[in-house]
Symmetry: C2
Subunit: 80 residues, 2 copies
C-alpha cells in the first residue's frame, strides 16, 4: 500500500482581528528579555492523512466546514 | 524604514505523543461525512515581526524558552 497522502491546513486570524494569544506571546518574549519583537500573531496548523486522490476541493470543504471560522480566520492549504 | 523581518515558528507534537485535539478533529470530519480521513495532528504556528538582523539562533531561543514545550513538541523555524 502506498503511503497516505498528506495535506496541511494553516489557519490564521484575519488582519484587524484582535489576537490576545499573540499579544500574550509578544509581552512574554519581551519579559524574557528578547529585543526587537514587534507584532506577534498566533494561528493553528492541522496535518491530515487522507486517502490517495482526495481533491483540494474536499480539503477546502473540510477547512470551511470545520477547521476555520471564515468570519475571522483565513486558511491556506498545502498538499501535493 | 524597511519592512520588519518576519519569522514563522511552527510547533507540532512529537510522534507518539497523544493528540486529543487531532483525534477530535478526525472524528468530527468523519461525522461530517468526509471519507478517507486518517490520522490528524494539530499544531500551532506563531508569526513574529522582528527587528532586521535578528538571528535564527535568537528565534530558536524564543522557541525553546517559550513557544514550544520541547519535551513533547518539535518546532521548525522559517525565516528569510
Amino acid at each position: 500500500m502506498a503511503a497516505p497522502m498528506k495535506a496541511t491546513v494553516t489557519v490564521t486570524l484575519k488582519n484587524g482581528v484582535l489576537d490576545p494569544q499573540g499579544r500574550a506571546i509578544e509581552s512574554a518574549l519581551k519579559g524574557l528579555g528578547f529585543e526587537g519583537v514587534g507584532d506577534v500573531r498566533a494561528g493553528k496548523i492541522v496535518e491530515l492523512e487522507l486517502a490517495d486522490g482526495t481533491s483540494r476541493e474536499t480539503v477546502e470543504a473540510m477547512a470551511r466546514q470545520l477547521l476555520a471560522n471564515t468570519v475571522i480566520e483565513n486558511f491556506r492549504i498545502e498538499m501535493p
